[in-house]
């Protein structure tokens, strides 16, 4: 089944380079995507689900129903979108009463969601599972000589009981994807710790969110990273804006995996949208 690209909010509207890099990279890998027309916010799990589970799952169900209508599986580049859409699809597949309630509302829109109707995929796990290492390596035009601090984020692998992608405490999936470029993925303390932004904390308690970001940044700086590579535009934003807000000279550029792959494929950096970043992306690659 083809893939419907679910862009979300932060990628298209804050870091459009993540969106353009994803399109460029997938095209070079021979993966065809179509836009998920008329999609809304996933809606963001940390806030929307915290406020009202029914609103969260019904809005997610509408996005899923749009993909069903297009006859395509969903692909997202964001852990938040992945969390909302994957977990909602899971719940709708497991809970007939919830499915009925949600479809009662969707009926008013002449829409319906089918249990297990489409799959929800994340860019990173799609590359790891559906595209061979050889295909990926062949698409690269140069070797990246970088020490990378990989940040998995929370909603990519967790809750692991339903995601079942990798070990949530000691994952290797994204490290391996990064190392295909020639870059080295660093081991560092508290690697799996949250960036601080999730759960509505960034909006309600920005100082606490930033304290978590600082804890991570201090460790990442100490580890000697040339850059951070994430698989989530929200973590991306928290690290990029967070470094600026902390006012320290961490000066560690933040790249989404799609942007790192863009560099390895020698795509014009102008198309990777680094000018939207607060921390300049100056890498000797």
């Amino acid at each position: 089944m083809d893939l419907a690209f679910f862009v979300g909010c932060i990628a298209p509207l804050r870091y459009p380079g993540i969106e353009s890099a994803t399109r460029e990279v997938l095209e070079r890998l021979g993966v065809s995507i179509r836009d998920l027309e008329g999609a809304s916010c996933c809606p963001a799990p940390g806030v929307t689900r915290s406020f009202d589970v029914k609103t969260w799952v019904t809005m997610a169900a509408r996005n899923i129903a749009l993909a069903e209508r297009q006859g395509q599986n969903i692909m997202t580049v964001c852990n938040g979108c992945f969390g909302s859409l994957f977990e909602s699809a899971h719940l709708l597949g497991e809970d007939p009463a919830l499915l009925r309630d949600v479809n009662d509302i969707l009926e008013g829109l002449n829409m319906t969601v089918t249990p297990h109707g489409v799959e929800v995929r994340h860019f990173a796990e799609f590359l790891a599972k559906d595209v061979s290492d050889n295909t990926i390596k062949k698409s690269f035009k140069r070797k990246l000589d970088l020490d990378v601090a990989v940040h998995y984020g929370c909603h990519f692998l967790k809750p692991s009981k339903i995601k079942q992608l990798d070990d949530p405490e000691r994952p290797t999936m994204v490290d391996k994807l990064v190392e295909l470029t020639g870059a080295r993925s660093l081991e560092y303390k508290d690697k799996q710790m949250c960036c601080g932004a999730g759960g509505g904390v960034r909006a309600r308690h920005p100082d606490t969110a930033l304290a978590m970001t600082k804890a991570k940044m201090d460790i990442i700086k100490e580890a000697g990273a040339d850059c951070i590579v994430d698989v989530c535009p929200f973590c991306h934003l928290q690290y990029d804006k967070g470094q600026k807000a902390l006012g320290k000279d961490y000066d560690i550029p933040v790249l989404h995996l799609a942007q790192l792959y863009g560099l390895a494929m020698d795509i014009d950096p102008k198309l990777l949208g680094f000018e939207a970043h607060d921390i300049p992306v100056k890498l000797k690659v």
């Binding site: 459009p16 399109r23 929307t48 915290s50 589970v53 019904t58 008013g108 929370c154 967790k158």
Partner: protein, 169 residues
């Protein structure tokens, strides 16, 4: 609701109806608290929230600022030796807090943005110009270019009454 230190068994049943029985399995080992990235920075103690939920003390939990320090990172849930649905329980408690009128202005503003635009992030001329430079459509193929789609999102939020709940609070 009962007085703030008297267990409210009816409320406790409502919580269990929503998230299941696992709240009763917590034996207060503190793995959640010691795993919590937010608890490292603040006085937020996940274990305490769970104990108050076990006792049935909504008057202590729902107005509490502590409830909103969880980043929903799932570390506690992954490590809990008793299989307590910790994030699910915190989520359910937050939903109750919102319905009881305990919601920050910053969070209310997010809901309003979601209703008005279908997204949580506002767009700007600067971003549209950058999108164009990157070879993207200035306006993404989302509710932002489709008024009917936005109306559908608004219909959902009206049906679930989230917006009304916020306005009433």
């Amino acid at each position: 609701m009962a007085a703030d230190n008297v267990p409210d068994t009816a409320w406790k049943s409502t919580l269990i109806d929503d998230v299941g029985e696992t709240v009763n399995l917590c034996f207060q080992c503190g793995t959640c608290t010691s795993s919590c990235p937010s608890g490292r920075m603040t006085a937020f103690r996940t274990r305490q929230i769970l104990r108050m939920a076990q006792f049935g003390l909504p008057e202590l939990i729902l107005p509490s600022d502590d409830l909103w320090y969880c980043t929903t990172c799932y570390t506690c849930y992954e490590r809990c030796p008793r299989g307590v649905e910790i994030v699910g329980i915190i989520t359910s408690l937050r939903n109750m807090a919102v319905r009881a009128g305990f919601m920050s202005e910053a969070h209310k503003d997010l809901v309003k943005t979601l209703y008005e635009t279908g997204h949580l992030i506002p767009t700007s001329d600067k971003i549209m110009a950058l999108r164009k430079d990157l070879g993207l459509d200035e306006v993404p193929h989302t509710v932002l270019r489709d008024k009917e789609a936005l109306k559908q999102v608004q219909y959902i939020m009206e049906q679930t009454r989230l917006l009304m709940i916020i306005k009433e609070s």
